[in-house]
């Protein structure tokens, strides 16, 4: 035992166990162990498994057949893949509208009027209800025969528009439905953020003659930076995970025009007619790299922030 040669201090008893001696460095790992274990089993390991499966042709039931990168080659000239990718990008861009929309609703609600708590709850309501319900509500709203949308635009002599049945509008229609709860989410983040805005700075800015847009842009928004960051993260992730609304509202249709990568992956591998685990895994790998790009960026900026403080 080499440790036995170390000189004993007065704080050390003669025969402390190995655990006692390393307690400070071991304990955090013990507390982390369950999380790490499950994270490994349910997140890290499946990522590598997906990489592996994507190199096979496999129906999920029988024997796997190694086919190298054929799945990726096929993906390369699969028009459905590009439709999904294009829709994913539209989702990413338009979903970000939830951030300014949430900010303005938060500014609007950030006042002391009788019953403001009730109004705040009402605005937050769409985030509380299930995405499935949101999808159903919007499906009826868009319905070409009895939907509210077409009734309203009918009054001004327009329509009817079959939003969910028309390949040109369908993705925008679903994103609009998705923005409803997402805006509420961003709003609640900004409402919390606004509580932390320093009133002295506002006072000072007011003395300097700042008001309206300038006040908002140069004084309020910079102080909301942490809230903006979180809103950005949840919105990007939300856009990439958009699955339930598509599944409920259009099932990927008409003829696959509203699919995104995650839905296409599900359809290819796990839906009623899907028996192509390998191809689905290949789509998952592509989606993983797209997400990784954003996640790496967020982790980097978080790291930078922490170093800055």
């Amino acid at each position: 035992m080499s440790t036995a040669t170390v000189a004993k201090s007065e704080y050390e008893s003669a025969n402390r166990s190995w655990y006692k001696r390393n307690e400070i460095s071991i304990t955090p790992w013990l507390f982390l162990a369950p999380a790490i274990l499950f994270f490994m089993v349910y997140v890290i390991f499946p990522i590598f498994q997906s990489f592996d499966v994507s190199l096979y042709q496999w129906d999920g039931l029988g024997a796997r057949e190694y086919i190298g990168t054929s799945n990726y080659v096929e993906l390369w000239d699969d028009p459905a893949f590009y439709t999904s990718l294009k829709n994913n990008i539209i989702w990413l861009i338009l979903y970000l509208l939830a951030i300014p929309a949430g900010l303005f609703i938060a500014l609007f609600l950030n006042q002391t009027v009788t019953g403001i708590r009730l109004y705040k709850s009402l605005f937050f309501f769409p985030f509380v209800i299930s995405q499935v319900v949101v999808g159903l509500v919007f499906t009826w709203f868009y319905d070409p025969t009895f939907g509210l949308l077409n009734t309203v635009i009918g009054w001004v002599g327009l329509g009817p528009i079959n939003v969910l049945g028309d390949p040109t509008y369908v993705t925008y229609g679903i994103i609009a439905a998705g923005l409803w709860p997402q805006t509420a989410y961003c709003m609640i983040l900004y409402l919390t953020g606004l509580n932390a805005v320093d009133p002295e700075q506002i006072e000072a800015a007011r003395l300097d003659g700042a008001k309206g847009w300038k006040m908002l842009w140069y004084v309020i928004v910079p102080q909301l930076k942490p809230a903006t960051f979180i809103a950005f993260v949840v919105t990007i992730v939300g856009a990439l995970r958009s699955f339930d609304l598509i599944s409920i509202m259009t099932n990927g249709g008409p003829f696959g025009e509203s699919r995104v990568l995650s839905f296409y992956m599900f359809e290819v591998a796990l839906s009623e007619y899907g028996f192509r685990m390998g191809y689905g895994a290949a789509i998952a790998v592509v989606l993983f790299f797209i997400m990784l790009f954003f996640i790496a960026y967020f982790l980097y900026s978080m790291y930078k922030d922490e170093k800055g403080h």
Binding site: L61, P160, P254, F255
Partner: protein
């Protein structure tokens, strides 16, 4: 057995006593038996509950546990439960739809049940349940497809049941001129469009070509397929279908027929029940066979068969076999299909002649040259998906036809290699 013809599901239990005699020779069954069903709609659900109760009375030592799963959810769950938690009996569909489970050895070979009298009685569906020369399940029902139309609207406008393509189009033109759409359809879930393709293709090019096409032996870019699409296009150019059909499920398309905005519906017989529930009576609703298109081509029909299977991982296969045999028998098929409103497969069963749709369907299928299952049961799953999406796109953008067929051809080359 005439009294049984009208039997509802609840009455099945009382007839059990009568039927028991026929099966008394079987050895007693015991233990547990698990049955998974996809019969989640009210009528099929009650029917099966009745049949299982009847079977349970015959085998008092058998502890039967039934699980009914939503029909659409079942289609994705079957893969999981066949491997992880196999029941002793499971419902499924005939044709290529069972191929993945047969190929991977998840369905039990039940050729031994297809012996003697039973084989003779079920002969009409034997090919649909045969893969590699063995049988993998037994049928319990099948149903016809055809055009369900508003008789009152036809009468008012002086139209008659069409028997040829020219008559069909002439009728349709008159309806369109009067501001009524000829056909309602909801293509949100794609398969309804495949019904149109199947019929148009079988009538234009014949059963053999259609089967070769779904089996991957003919090219999708073939001129014959183009001819089918051209026939379809004639209807599309006439504006014969309701607009916005991509937004509706097949059930959501029913109100157009009920409200008189559309005059007919190409559908399976299972649609009669919801249509009547939506308010149409037997006087208003009638049925005709899909008309002849190419002169001289024998009339084949769609008749999807629903089946029962024993998973190879089942723990009580004796009970499973006994149940399959029981359901395949003439008496049980008679009473079951009377309450399902469909057709029994066993040719010794009697058909519920009080139901005019069942009666007409039975006559039509008896005279049919051959029976197809349905596009998504005749073609393998992947091809069915790509194909049906193509049909839906064609109905919205008929100008893309060449592009769509080229895509299907590319899929065919990949899938059937």
């Amino acid at each position: 057995m005439r009294s049984i013809l009208k039997a509802s599901a609840t009455a099945l239990v009382t007839t059990a006593v009568l039927a028991t005699g026929a099966f008394a020779a079987d050895k007693p069954l015991s233990g547990d038996m698990k049955i998974f069903l996809d019969t989640s709609n009210p009528a099929p659900r009650a029917t099966f509950e009745g049949v299982i109760a009847q079977f349970g009375e015959m085998h008092p030592d058998l502890n039967i546990e039934t699980t009914i799963i939503d029909r659409d959810a079942y289609k994705t769950q079957i893969r999981n439960f066949l491997t992880a938690n196999p029941p002793d009996v499971a419902t499924w569909y005939a044709g290529n739809r069972m191929l993945p489970y047969v190929n991977t050895g998840l369905f039990e070979d039940v050729s031994d049940l297809w012996q003697g009298d039973l084989a003779e009685n079920l002969a009409s569906t034997k090919t649909a349940l045969t893969i590699d020369g063995k049988q993998w399940g037994v049928p319990y029902t099948y149903y016809q497809w055809g055009v369900y139309y508003r008789k009152d609207i036809f009468d008012k406008m002086g139209l008659t049941k069409p028997t040829t393509w020219a008559e069909e189009k002439a009728n349709c033109q008159k309806l369109v001129d009067a501001g009524i759409k000829c056909y309602t359809i909801g293509t949100k879930f794609l398969w309804t469009a495949a019904g149109w393709f199947d019929y148009l293709n079988m009538r234009t090019n014949g059963y053999e070509f259609h089967m070769a096409l779904t089996a991957g032996k003919e090219k999708w870019t073939d001129d014959r397929v183009k001819k089918t699409m051209a026939n379809w296009r004639e209807l599309l150019d006439m504006d014969a279908f309701i607009g916005d059909h991509t937004a509706y499920s097949w059930q959501e398309a029913i109100p157009f027929l009920v409200d008189g905005k559309a005059a007919s519906y190409l559908m399976g017989n299972f649609a009669v029940d919801p249509i009547k529930a939506a308010g149409l009576t037997d006087d208003q609703l009638d049925f005709y066979q899909f008309p002849l298109i190419t002169e001289g081509i024998p009339m084949a029909e769609e008749a999807p068969t629903d089946t029962l299977h024993i998973p190879s991982g089942a723990s009580n296969k004796d009970a499973g076999r006994a149940f399959l045999k029981f359901v395949a028998s003439a008496e049980v098929q008679t009473s079951m299909n009377a309450s399902l409103g469909q057709l029994p497969v066993n040719n010794k069963s009697s058909v519920n002649t009080d139901d005019k749709f069942v009666r007409q369907g039975f006559e039509m299928l008896n005279g049919a040259y051959a029976l197809a299952q349905f596009f998504d049961r005749d073609a393998p799953a992947e091809m069915a998906k790509v194909g049906m999406e193509g049909f839906q796109e064609f109905m919205v953008r008929p100008d893309n036809v060449d592009q769509i067929l080229a895509r299907l051809e590319k899929a065919r080359e990949r899938i059937y290699k």
